[in-house]
Symmetry: C2
Subunit: 245 residues, 2 copies
């Protein structure tokens, strides 16, 4: 059983919003960066898979934010894999501030795709991941499986250059930003994110026109679809009172 990987980062000015605290998008960025750094250190990172014509893709993610980090705060992300099967691996993250307090936690599920065929391959056939599996439970509940719903408001969006990542599709975290930017002011100003769940269903590529649908109740639901109605991803944001702004 390997030791958990621990990675240190700092909240830079580009990571904060107008409250001078890390945005949900930047926390997702660091969580995924830690996943990439740890996979690299264990020789099954994107670079290693690329050599075999494969890449990691994120299927589902759940993130809980207990306290939003402030600008210039240093923090660590501890990450470990606790499940591997043919379909996917489960990777966990615990984010701690410099006093060792847990400020966020995440659970992510990943598949391996064949880059040319854009199709999932057997994770266990790529390599023997069993030696990296750590028998420690996930810090938060598994990512929600999110079903279709009838959105109250919709917005159209064309996929542009800066949306596209190294996998030549819209980067996972881009969707998070689009969703957050659609929220009404009364949520952005007076609520804090408690938990965020997202399911990635189909890829979106450069130039595609997408429809972002949203419904706000106790939580905010999102569905992004392509022109023919095919779902690209769905997400739920659960709120708590902020009392801050």
């Amino acid at each position: 059983m390997m030791e958990k990987g621990t990675y240190s980062y700092k909240i830079e000015p580009r990571d904060v919003d107008f409250t001078l605290r890390a945005s949900l998008v930047s926390m997702c960025d660091y969580i995924l960066q830690a996943a990439g750094d740890d996979a690299d250190n264990n020789n099954f990172g994107v670079r290693d898979l690329n050599c075999e014509g494969c890449s990691w893709v994120l299927l589902r993610m759940g993130v809980e934010i207990f306290r939003r980090l402030e600008q210039y705060e240093e923090f660590t992300v501890r990450t470990w894999v606790n499940d591997v099967n043919r379909m996917m691996t489960t990777r966990n993250m615990v984010v701690c501030d410099s006093r060792g307090e847990t400020v966020a936690a995440a659970i992510t599920q990943w598949a391996i795709i064949d880059i040319e065929k854009r199709r999932a391959v057997d994770v266990t056939a790529r390599a023997d991941f069993s030696h990296v599996v750590r028998n420690e439970p996930s810090p938060i509940a598994v990512p929600l499986r999110i079903f279709a719903f009838e959105p109250e408001t919709t917005q159209m969006r064309t996929v542009v250059y800066s949306d596209i990542d190294f996998n030549r599709h819209v980067g996972s975290v881009k969707y998070v930003g689009w969703m957050y930017d659609m929220l009404p002011e009364e949520i952005v100003m007076y609520k804090e994110i408690a938990r965020f769940d997202i399911n990635f269903i189909h890829e979106a590529r450069l130039g595609q026109v997408l429809r972002i649908g949203m419904s706000n109740g106790d939580s905010s639901m999102f569905e992004i679809c392509s022109g023919n109605g095919q779902p690209v991803c769905r997400a739920v944001m659960s709120w708590k009172e902020s009392g801050l702004k």
Copy 2:
């Protein structure tokens, strides 16, 4: 005379585009991050100015890219101030790869504003910056002063939550991304950025509707205006052939 500050960074997966090389936006991010890190280390960073109700704002920037860094490449940004007057300071950057080759260079001009009044204040009155001025010439030509022009194509854009930075206005680098995303495919696919100049004229705030105008010739010109036609910023991108994609 102080030693130049040198800051080390790495091109992360979130910094690259579909060519697996650092985007112009991410290079601007790192260049400005080095500026912030160096100002902090010299006790005249945003945090220090905030204590006096002030903040740095970027007026103009010129960036030349000689080679686009690849994903995971480590690099350094050396930065120094070589001019301070009542209106602004001039800060330079040289970006080197791990072999010590210069891959990019930048020149930036900064003013100090009173946060409440949103008005420029005398830079030299804030503190004695003279001890940080290094008598070493800028690595590239001063930022172009860019004049109004009649754009060929325009696009409207509403300022959303994630556009807003710690200064409570649209972050400098956001504009760069918006402009790049408007470029026609024949430029994005077959040209490389050689030089980028940008002038910041007025702030843009949350909810404002902006018009982005563009004209493409030997170089690409951009002007972003608010609803009443007041210019927010103007930029020029100069191209070289890529031969890469």
